[in-house]
Amino acid sequence: MKRHHFSLLAAAALAVMTATANGDQFALLIYETPDELAARTDDTRGAAYWKAFADYGAALQSAGIIRGGAALQPNTGAKTVTVRDDESVTTDGPHAQSSTQLGGYFVIEVPTLDEALQWAAKAPSSLTGAVEVRPFYPVPGMP
């Protein structure tokens, strides 16, 4: 099942190399329910889970709008770091506690927010979790 994930990333890398500027970039933040995340490693549901994301990645690729993306380990593996008065404190767990967690993201380049929202609605996690769409901020000096 990881092969699907790999081909998704390979597609993203290829898309980055062949990218032409034709719009604004948006992050599609994929919020998944615990049940969905459990499907990743479930013998019976795993195949359908990964196929849904592979199909979605392939659709973004054929539309020529994918610019990046990654899937994340479950947030039980998250650590949060804060520095106060020069002292660094690391806590286990994500910064924002919620039952529905950030499972990954896609970066797409499309002409309008409306188009980004249409793509967000096609992401597998929109059915049970949610997809948050955020426009990029043009950061000076970033490669």
Binding site: F6, K79, V81, S98, L117, R134, V139
Partner: protein, 118 residues
């Protein structure tokens, strides 16, 4: 191994982006941080996000698209951007997280990415 460094910024931090007096220092600190990541050869990707007020959240229920303005999770600190770094272990990722400008004012979350299979 790739780790995602999620940058949670306070309102005060995000406001500095467009504050005439504070913006130069704000951007300089991020530029220094990105330069350091690039110089160590661990930079994979990174992007800044527009403020959470520009976020839109989409759900699909019974084939109906439900769209609402605002971020999915309402938090005091907001996701202001992210970096992807390639480092040998979590400890190294946490060291870089502690050097991130947002760590002193907001918080920095480190998440391992799913490893690709070759």
């Amino acid at each position: 191994m790739n780790y995602l460094i999620l940058i949670y910024e306070s309102e005060h931090g995000v406001a500095a982006r467009t504050d005439e007096a504070r913006a130069p220092e704000y951007w300089q600190s991020w530029s220094n941080y990105a330069d350091a990541l690039i110089a160590s050869g661990i930079f994979v990707d990174g992007n800044g996000l527009q403020p959470a007020t520009t976020a839109t959240t989409v759900r699909l229920r019974d084939d109906k698209r439900l769209v609402h303005d605002g971020p999915f999770a309402d938090t005091k600190e907001q996701l202001g951007g992210y970096f992807v770094v390639n480092v040998p272990d979590l400890d190294t990722a946490l060291e870089w997280a502690a050097r991130c400008p947002a760590a002193t004012d907001g918080a920095v979350e480190v998440r391992p990415a799913l490893p690709p299979r070759d």
